[in-house]
């Protein structure tokens, strides 16, 4: 089955990185799809937490927003938003936090605030939301984003969420004990931090992607791991499950209730 999109590869790759024992703080969009795909395939007991306060939620349809009714109705329990951020996120109970990014640099620092100067932005982005503390409080951070030289940049215009800092060493210097960006999955490849320098290096190319293509689509002089892998293509069950999920979701979101 070769008929799949780069976004599908990205989502499937992210899903595969999750296990039954993970407790995920889930963002909207690709992360939500990846987490629920994992739950519907190889990780049925994975715990999904949405920042709206739903713990252990098992939605049949992906939410459009972070607080759709489906999330509460299928949750083990739904708590107040201050509690989610204090007891569950800051309390250190989340193993994996998912982040998206408008810009990311080689050390996994993320910008979702502004393009251009903060006081006179060319583009005002939505802002940090839960991301600044997800980045520091979750055991590991997974980043999913489209691969383009405007998105994977030499230097982010604004650090909304800390990766490894501007030199790759700031995380430790700030006394942050969590791992930080452990995996960046784009529509072209998988990147992981170099164990020595924390620079994100390409560790696996998605089917059809090339070194040259990735290098061209990256705003910094991207490095490739010595043992560069190739991402296994989505399996038929993975694709079928993901597409069913999207089909149900699109049908549910298309019409006013």
């Amino acid at each position: 089955m070769s008929d799949y999109t780069p976004t599908e590869v990205m989502t499937v790759s992210a899903a595969r990185a999750l296990s039954n024992d993970d407790v995920c703080f889930v963002g909207i969009g690709a992360p939500s799809a990846a987490c629920n795909l994992a739950r519907l395939t190889h990780a049925p007991d994975i715990t999904l937490i949405y920042e709206s306060g739903t713990i252990g939620t098992r939605p049949d349809v992906l939410p459009l927003s972070i607080g759709d009714g489906e999330l509460a109705e299928t949750s083990l329990t739904t708590v107040a938003v201050p509690e989610i951020f204090r007891y569950w996120l800051q309390g250190g109970r989340i193993t994996v936090g998912f982040l998206g990014a408008a810009q990311m640099d080689r050390y996994g620092n993320i910008n979702t605030t502004v393009i251009g100067p903060y006081g006179a932005p060319a583009v005002r982005l939505p802002g940090g939301g839960g991301a600044p503390e997800i980045a520091s409080s979750c055991g590991r951070v997974f980043i999913t984003m489209r691969h383009s030289p405007r998105a994977l940049v030499e230097r982010v215009d604004f650090v909304t969420s800390l990766g490894f800092g501007v030199t790759g060493t700031e995380r430790a210097a700030l006394g942050i004990a969590t791992r930080g960006p452990a995996l960046a999955i784009t529509d072209l490849c998988v990147m992981e931090p170099d164990p020595e320098t924390n620079e994100l290096v390409v560790t696996s190319l998605h089917p059809g992607a090339t070194r040259a293509g990735v290098a061209e689509a990256t705003g910094w002089d991207v490095r490739f791991a010595a043992a560069l892998g190739e991402t296994a293509p989505p399996t038929e069950p993975e694709l079928a499950t993901l597409r069913d999920l999207h089909r149900r979701t699109n049908a549910a979101h298309a019409v006013s209730p």
Binding site: G67, R124, G127, P257
Partner: protein, 270 residues
């Protein structure tokens, strides 16, 4: 016991130009009807607090109600930008607005501190980010026992908070179910609290003694506003109108189209 009044009367009696106002609700229970009434009554120079400005503040900003927005995530969730919010920040239309930008953790903690009568909230946050450099209302405190430096933000203490909830009984006790968000904190942190509800009932019928119930004596005004959370939703009464959230992208993208919507869907409505 709170006053039971109409929505126009509630807004007229509580919201003044220049006030700091919060219309809260996390995806769920967003008090759109109250926001539209504030637009209709022509309020100006408001400081608007919300974790997620959402369509409700996009509409109020586009209508010219806001002088300042205190927030942590300003997008149309799952859809894209808040075009009216962006137009105000990027281009100063209909007039420039100030922003005070936080993270969700900071806003949630600031609500809890406001409800608790504290002047500030401390939490482990903003580590290594640029937000403290652009927001002077992000400070630090040092743990007197471990020496750890923590982030600190001022408590939210709005002049008026408005929330939507499932129902009130005749004594003004209010039940909130489902995603409870920061609804309780917004009410308890405010000088004046207004609650719009789907219905006013004889028996609150809370499913448990541990249900989220706000006593009537902690609320100033109750308004029966069935459907008052649309296109957001009220668990047990309605579903989120995700199609409308998607449609808003087109309505709000263009100033003229937005103004047409405003005239037809807000100003001409009652």
């Amino acid at each position: 016991m709170p006053d039971f009044v109409s929505l126009p009367d509630a807004v007229a009696a509580t919201v003044r130009d220049g006030h700091t106002v919060a219309l809260e609700g996390f995806t769920h229970l967003i008090p759109f009807a109250a926001g539209h009434e504030i637009i209709r009554q022509g309020r100006r120079d408001l400081t608007l607090i919300r974790m997620t400005p959402d369509l409700i503040y996009d509409q109020m900003i586009g209508a010219g109600c806001a002088r300042r927005v205190v927030f942590s995530w300003g997008g149309n969730p799952g859809v894209g930008s808040l075009h009216r919010f962006r137009d105000a920040v990027e281009n100063g239309w209909p007039h420039p607005i100030e922003i005070e930008e936080h993270s969700h953790a900071a806003m949630a903690n600031a609500w809890a501190a406001g409800a608790a009568g504290l002047p500030f909230a401390s939490f482990r946050g903003y580590l290594g980010t640029d937000l403290p450099s652009v927001n002077p209302r992000i400070a630090t405190v040092t743990c007197p026992f471990t020496g750890e430096e923590l982030a600190a933000v001022p408590a939210h203490r709005p002049d008026v908070s408005i929330i939507h909830a499932q129902r009130a009984d005749r004594a003004g006790n209010v039940l909130i179910e489902g995603i409870v968000g920061v609804q309780k904190e917004a009410v308890l942190a405010a000088e004046v609290a207004v609650v719009t509800v789907e219905e006013i009932v004889d028996d609150l019928a809370a499913p448990s003694m541990n249900s989220t119930v706000l006593p009537g004596w902690a609320i100033d005004t109750i308004v029966a506003a069935p459907g008052g959370s649309w296109p957001s939703y009220t668990h047990g009464y309605s579903h989120r109108d995700n199609a409308y959230y998607k449609a808003w992208d087109e309505i709000s993208r263009d100033r003229a189209r937005f103004q047409q919507w405003l005239a037809e869907s807000v100003m001409a409505a009652t």
